[in-house]
Structures are given as C-alpha cells and as structure tokens.
C-alpha cells in the first residue's frame, strides 16, 4: 500500500529525514517509536503534504501512485488520514461543518454523492457515541477549548467518519486517561484493523500497543529507520531505552 524509499526531507533547509525506507502492506499495523526530535511527526507531515516540508530525495508511492505529486486534499481523498500530534483549533467553524465539508469534498473527488445534512449528522452522532464523545461537542468549534485528551478523541471521531484506507496516527495516545486510552485503542482496531487498510502508529509508549497490537515495530532515530522488529521490540525498547537499541 505505502512504499517509502530513501526519503530525505528538510524544513527551512535543515535536513530532518535522512534516507528513510519503509513499506507498509494492506492489513498491517506498524508502530514507529523513537526519541524526541527524531523526525516522526515530520514523516507524518511529509506524508500529508504539509507546506514547508521539502522532499529533496527519494520517493513515496501510495497504491502505486506518486504521493508527492498530490495536493494535501487529494491525498486525503486517496485515503490517507493524518491524526495530528497537536490537533489544530479552528475558531468559528463547527466540528459538524468541518467534517461534513471534509467528507463531502473527498466523496466529490471519488465521484460519490454528497451526504445530506441529516445523513451526515446521523453518521457523526453514531461515531461520537462509539468513541464516548458527547455529541454536543460536534456543534462546538473545532478543538476550541477542548482538553488535550478530548482533542485526541476528536481526531478518532474524525477518522471514524472519514473511514480512511491508511492512517498515520501521531501520538494519538498522549494526553488520554486510562479509560480513554482503551476506548481509542478499540476505536483504532474497529475502524482500521481490516484486510484492506493499514496504520502507521507513532507512539512513545507500550500501553497503546497493548490494545492495538502492531505487526511491526520500527525505531526512527535521526531521520532514519534504525531498527525493525515485531511486537516484542516495543517491550525491549521500554525496558532498555533507545540508546542501547537504536544506536
């Protein structure tokens, strides 16, 4: 599904990703762990197409097409979802409006009929309920005044509504309380654990991986994948730290 070859990317002329290679197949969940500042979020932004993140070398193909050729919104329509480490507040725009516009814009690209206001609300309410988010929050401006954990949960509600093919979830577990962690973990499994889908799960902690069992675990350090393994690698990292293992 996703094939990243020798990816080099820089921000403001500063190299951050330095030859990253990674392949993700349909049906797989990959966890990415690594020290602060290693370039994990940068990888997510490059996949999403954030302006200012310049790819200087290498390639990314998604379902056989050159992802770097696509505009950010086209990547979304192609099935890529980026769960933000720091979800953005949008004053004056309600969650309902934001998500309905998002979903219908994607559907338009795929030549699907737009959802009516009523159809959309029904879908949004169901998804909020599954993730134990108060449906009233859907009416509020996007992420404005949401707690850290509420923002993360809202990312998952968005993912549930958009139903992407491939999700990059950047520290979706940070800021969640113990119950929320379980609910979000279950949500990721429910929405994404499917033979046609795949996930790149960026995390610092084993505890999310107790719920969402990764098929592969990679260590990203200094802009490269320095080590890959199975679920046991995450346990080893938690015990021994990056210094030992990733060096």
């Amino acid at each position: 599904m996703l094939r990243i070859e020798n990816l080099h990317a820089e921000i403001d002329g500063k190299p951050i990703l330095k030859g990253l290679t990674l392949s993700v197949n349909a049906g797989e969940i990959h966890a990415i762990m690594g020290p602060n500042g290693a370039g994990k979020s940068t990888l997510g932004y490059v996949l999403g197409g954030r302006p200012g993140y310049e790819v200087t070398e290498g390639s990314i193909t998604f379902d056989g097409q050159d992802l770097l050729e696509l505009e950010p919104h086209e990547r979304a329509a192609a099935g890529v979802f980026l769960g933000f480490q720091y979800p953005v507040e949008i004053p004056g725009v309600s969650n309902v409006q934001f998500l309905r516009e998002s979903l219908n814009a994607q559907r338009a690209v795929r030549s699907e009929k737009p959802l009516s206001g009523g159809e959309f609300l029904k879908l949004a309410r169901e998804e909020a309920k599954k993730l134990d988010m108060d449906a009233e929050m859907l009416k509020r401006p996007v992420n404005v005044g949401f707690s850290g954990g509420e923002k993360k949960r809202n990312e998952m509600v968005q993912m549930g509504i958009i139903d992407p093919k491939f999700a990059i979830l950047d520290e979706t577990d940070s800021g969640l309380d113990i119950d929320a962690l379980r609910i979000v973990g279950d949500g990721i499994n429910r929405i994404m654990r499917q033979p046609t889908k795949a996930v790149l799960l960026i995390t610092h902690y084993q505890r999310l991986l107790d719920y969402v069992k990764p098929d592969f675990v990679h260590v990203l350090a200094d802009g490269r994948i320095t080590r890959s393994g199975g679920a046991e690698l995450a346990h080893q990292l938690e015990r021994e730290g990056y210094a030992e293992i990733a060096a």
Binding site: G48, G49, R50, P51, E71, P72, H73, R75, A76, A77, F81, L82, F84, P87, V88, E89, I90, P91, G92, V93, Q97, F98, L99, E101, S102, L103, A105, Q106, V109, Q158, I162
Partner: protein, 359 residues
C-alpha cells in the same frame, strides 16, 4: 474632478485621512450603465426603489413610509443630501413590517436624505441595498424615543463606483439601535457615523464587515458619544482585504464626565488575504467619566496556515479552506442581523464575494 466633490475635506484632516476622495470623484464621473435588476428580499412590508436617487413610484410600495423634503445636516457628506427623501415615523408602541429600500445607480452621482423617527417603544426594521455604478450618497437621521428599537441592515453591492453613508443617530433612554453593514461589492465606500447615546441606558451595536479586492478602498469612521449614564455600545467590525485593496476602520468612543457606568466595546479585526493588501485600524477612546468599562481590541492578521493544512489534510481543497476560514472570521459581524431571511441574504453575498476573491 466634478465640482460636487471639490468641497469635501482634504485627506489632511484626521477624520478623512483614509478616505478615498479620488475614488469618490472617479465614481461620480462614471459613464452611465444600464440599470441592474432591483431585487427585493422576500419580506412583507414597504418596498422602495430609488433609481439614481429618484423614487420609482410604480415599482415601490410605501406602506408607512412617506416621501418628501428633508433637511440635511452640516456634515460634509450629509449636507449634500438635502431635498426629497424618505421618512419612517412610528408612533408609540407601533411595530411595522420590514422596510426595504433598493438604491440603484446608473452612473454619475445622486444624494438622498432619510429620517427614521421611532416614538416610545416603537420597533422597526430597515434593510437597504445598493447596486449599480456611480456615486450614491445618503444621509440618514435616526431618532429613537424611550425604549424604541431599530434594526438596520445595509449592504453595498455595487460592482463599481462609490457609496457614502452619513449617519446621525440619537438613541433615547433604554432604546436600542442595531446596525449591520456589509460591503461586498466592488465599490469604494465611506460609512461615516455620529451616534449619540442621548438617554439613560441607551444601547447600540454598530458594525459590519467590509470586503475588498483589486484596488478597492472601503472605510468606516464611527463615533459613539455616550452623553448619558448606563449606556452600552458595541462596535464589531471585520475587514478582509485581498490584492492591493485597503480597508480602514476608525471607531471612536467618547464618554462624557457624567456618563457613569458606560460599557463600551470596540472589536476591530482585519484579515489580509494578500501581503499587498492593507487594513488600517484606529480604535479610539476618550473617557471623561471614572466609572466605566471600555474594552477595545484591534488586530490584523493572515489566515492561520496550521488551520489551512489541517483542513486540507481532511480533504478540503485549498480555496475552499480559505473561504471557510475567512467566512468564520466575518461571522461575528453578520450574526447580529435579527431577521433570518435578511441574514441569509447577507451571508450569501459574503459567500459570493469570497468565492470570487479566492478563486
């Protein structure tokens, strides 16, 4: 330059520093255009159509509005508008259906006075629309008696030319004036208002949104004078400027020595859609009373690029994301329109502007 323009103040005068006097003169010299369709909103009540400043009786329905000679004031713009104009006078407790006025210009210049006088506890709603080309100049005198309520909505939709509005209002005891302006055409404009809080506990909300593109210039210059205690005034203005255009917002609050417990708020915000555009903001407070609450905020910024990427990453195309964010930015300034039909029409005008500007 036509004579009519010559005796306006010069831009060297502080209150006129941002006025586009050249644009006004150019508007007055515009070659005639065909009269555009005059479209009334689907509301009950009076409908007045002015073409080049003259009432088109056949296509108007006056209801309680009268037409006759009115005095002007001594203001540079207001004094030109002496002559025949429209008046709405309501007796105590009277309530009318909305009054709609469409001002069509086919070029050159026209000047019309008007007067809204509401007696105790009377209530009215007035909706005005400017279309066409040329310079349209209006003087509106408003007097609200005790407890009277007036809602005004004014939209400037001329593709070209200039609209100048001189407004003088006296708001009586516990009376309320809410006025919302939308500049969403291609014309230049100056909204020039002097509002006097003439009774105890008077209430005013006066604001709107001015949207400019190309070389366009629009401005407001509003002065609220709290002459009596316990008054509250809110001025909420939003400016959106694209290309090389300019919006200037000057809002002043004056609080007289004995006007204690005044609550004055000014919120002036500008959004630049291009680095070459300009938004000038000038909030002013002149407070001579000691027990008052006055807040003002004035900021100019650009669209939040993080929000832009967030929206795009969810599938919203760039231009649409810009439109949504810009629309959210001006929403505060339009939401005060009480009548749903009117509000929807104004919002649609703002949307149409955005669609064209962000293309």
């Amino acid at each position: 330059m036509s004579d009519a323009v010559l005796d306006l103040p010069s831009a060297r005068e502080e209150a006129w520093r941002w006025a586009d006097l050249g644009g006004l003169a150019a508007a007055a010299a515009l070659a005639p255009v065909a009269a555009p369709e005059a479209e009334f909103l689907d509301l009950l009540g009076a409908k007045l159509l002015f073409v080049d400043g003259v009432l088109d009786e056949a296509r108007s329905d006056l209801h309680r509005v009268t037409v006759g000679a009115l005095a002007a004031d001594d203001h540079a713009l207001g004094r030109r508008a002496a002559g025949t104009g429209w008046s709405l006078h309501l007796d105590a407790q009277a309530v009318t259906d909305p009054v709609q006025i469409v001002h069509v210009a086919t070029g050159r210049q026209n000047h019309v006075p008007s007067e809204i006088v509401l007696a105790e506890d009377a209530a009215a709603e007035v909706v005005e629309t400017f279309v066409g080309a040329g310079w349209q100049n209006r003087f509106t005198r408003t007097r609200l008696g005790k407890g009277a309520r007036l809602m005004r909505s004014v939209r400037l939709l001329q593709p070209a030319g200039f609209v100048s509005l001189r407004e003088a209002a006296e708001i009586g005891e516990a009376a309320s004036l809410v006025a919302v302006f939308l500049g969403a055409g291609g014309q230049g404009s100056r909204i020039d208002a002097q509002l006097t809080m003439a009774g105890d506990g008077a209430f005013v909300e006066y604001g709107g949104t001015l949207l400019t593109s190309a070389e366009q210039r629009q401005e407001c210059a509003v002065r609220v004078n709290h002459a009596k205690p316990n008054g509250a005034s809110r001025q909420v203005w939003r400016a959106v400027a694209a290309d090389r255009s300019q919006v200037s917002l000057a809002a002043a609050v004056e609080v007289a020595r004995h006007a204690q417990k005044t609550d004055g708020e000014q919120s002036l915000r500008g959004l630049l859609l291009d680095r070459t555009a300009t938004v000038n903001l000038k909030p002013e407070l002149e407070i001579f009373a000691d027990d008052v609450k006055c807040a003002h905020g004035a900021t100019v910024g650009e669209l939040d690029q993080r929000a832009m990427f967030y929206m795009q990453s969810r599938g919203i195309p760039r231009a649409r994301a810009e439109a949504i964010l810009t629309r959210a930015f001006v929403a505060d300034a339009l939401e005060r329109i009480g009548d749903e039909t009117v509000r929807a029409a104004f919002e649609a005008d703002a949307d149409a502007w955005l669609e064209a500007a962000l293309d």
